[in-house]
Amino acid sequence: MSSIIRTIRFAAQHVWRNLWLSVVTLFLLVLTTISMTLVVGLNIVGGQIITAIEQKVEIDLYFYQYVPEQDVLDAQEFVRGLPETQSVQYTSPQDALKEFKESHADDTALLASLSELDDSVLPASITIKATEISSYPAILESIKNSPYQEFVDRTDYSDNSEMISRIEELTRIANQSALVISTIFLIISIIVIFNTLRITIYNYREEIGIMKLVGATNSFIRLPFVLEGALLGALAAGITLILGYGLLFLTDDSVRAFFEGYNFSLFAYAKTYWYYFFFGEMIGAIVLSVVSSMIAITRYLKV
């Protein structure tokens, strides 16, 4: 027990005595962790945006005013029976008017003029959601070939597939650049940690010499150096996490405003899944720094 505490104390001492070097090393490690988090983050953001947009895709069929409600309901049943359909929702003229009023509750002049109208001023409609984004054309085709086509006044199909593929493309490019940057930082980090450890080992050559001669075991001599790497890694992960959450918190309002109507908050996402990021970054940074310190130790710490 006391040797564990002692080892940790030695490792902390290494970091402290080389404060400047530790700071520079930490800085680089943080950059590496950030850029690697970015790769993961970009994937998440891209995926989330696409899902959000996909959820918005739907077909609205507006029926002629003269079509009896029963025919509209039959049309709904027909669409529901299609294999590509996930859900169909019927909106009666009354419901449509109610919705319209609710969404224009602030516009008193408009509401006043509406109240004079008869309550079937808006057409009946059905809203169709497909099981997959690619199934919409098939649904449209089936409707066109059905007897219900003649009741349909207007078809609203917000085709976002163009936008989705653009976002997919953008995510891919961003992802690749982040990956390249991460790899560069990764290599730089390994080199810097390796050299930090080399310098620490050099600075501690007297202590190491004494340890060897008084009969300290190899593992006891090495452990503080491995731990030094681990400590730097853990610190870097902690700093990255704090920076990341700070940034997300500060930008949350504008990100949300940007994705208005899409119920999309990066901050909320990160808050829900914080432990993934926490453990991911911790493990990543620690493994990275321990591995590079091990390389330095095996090369320069001859015990």
């Binding site: 006391s2 040797s3 002692r6 007297e206 202590e207 010499g209 004494i210 340890m211 060897k212 001669l213 008084v214 009969g215 300290a216 075991t217 190899n218 006891f220 001599i221």
Partner: protein, 226 residues
């Protein structure tokens, strides 16, 4: 306690530092190893603590054949040998107490034990009052006493001193020798490497003389002349 059986040591560059050397040191002895610079004295010391390994022959310490000692067992060997080496200095950033305690700390000794042992060895070397001083606040002789104190923390059966009086004036050097004699009287086998004839001649103890890697004399009440 220490046995060399026909030991030859060649360094990788081809230097024959020791050739066919044989001697045996009994428990409780005080032995000086003398010889000119480059004779192979430090090589003998390094072979004893398994810092170097015999190219030929056999080295036995306390009945343990360490000729082919496993890497992992070296710490076990070294905890039984106190070492005072030329290039084995004190840590300037640590106090006398901390320097001595360091030798125990790094071997995993508990803080309670450290608190007990350190004052004891400081008393043996006569530095009770200087525990909180830093090395630069001490004289050369006092510094050497701290090094000796540190070498005693594991209560070693053997004390191996390579040039323990190296940079000291005659009076201080004699004080250090007296300290080594005292440690020897407490039951520790002392092996001292030196090339100072005055010290050896004053001691009137066993002397092993090495010349160009060969043992040329081994006398019970020996002397050494340049």
């Amino acid at each position: 306690m220490i046995e060399f059986h026909n030991v030859t040591k060649s360094y990788p560059d081809g230097t024959h530092a020791l050739q066919n050397a044989s001697f045996s040191i009994e428990p409780g002895e005080f032995v000086s190893i003398v010889g000119q610079s480059g004779a192979g004295k430090t090589t003998v010391a390094r072979l004893i603590i398994a810092e170097e390994f015999a190219s030929k022959g056999k080295v036995v310490i306390g009945g343990w054949d360490i000729t082919n000692i496993k890497h992992r067992q070296i710490p076990v060997l070294r905890r039984q040998i106190g070492v005072v080496f030329q290039d084995f200095k004190l840590l300037q950033r640590k106090t006398v107490y901390e320097n001595v305690a360091f030798g125990l700390e790094v071997c995993g000794t508990t803080p309670e034990k450290i608190a007990k042992i350190v004052p004891q060895v400081l008393k043996i070397v006569g530095l009770q009052g200087k525990a909180e001083k830093f090395p630069e606040q001490l004289s050369g002789g006092e510094q050497q006493r701290v090094v000796i104190a540190r070498s005693l923390v594991h209560r070693p059966k053997i004390l191996l001193a390579d040039e323990p009086t190296g940079n000291l004036d005659t009076i201080t050097a004699n004080e250090i020798i007296d300290l080594l004699l005292k440690i020897n009287q407490l039951g520790t086998t002392v092996v001292m490497v030196t090339h100072n004839p005055d010290i050896v001649n004053r001691l009137q103890k066993r002397v092993i003389t090495i010349e160009k890697g060969k043992i040329i004399a081994d006398k019970q009440k020996g002397s050494y002349h340049l």
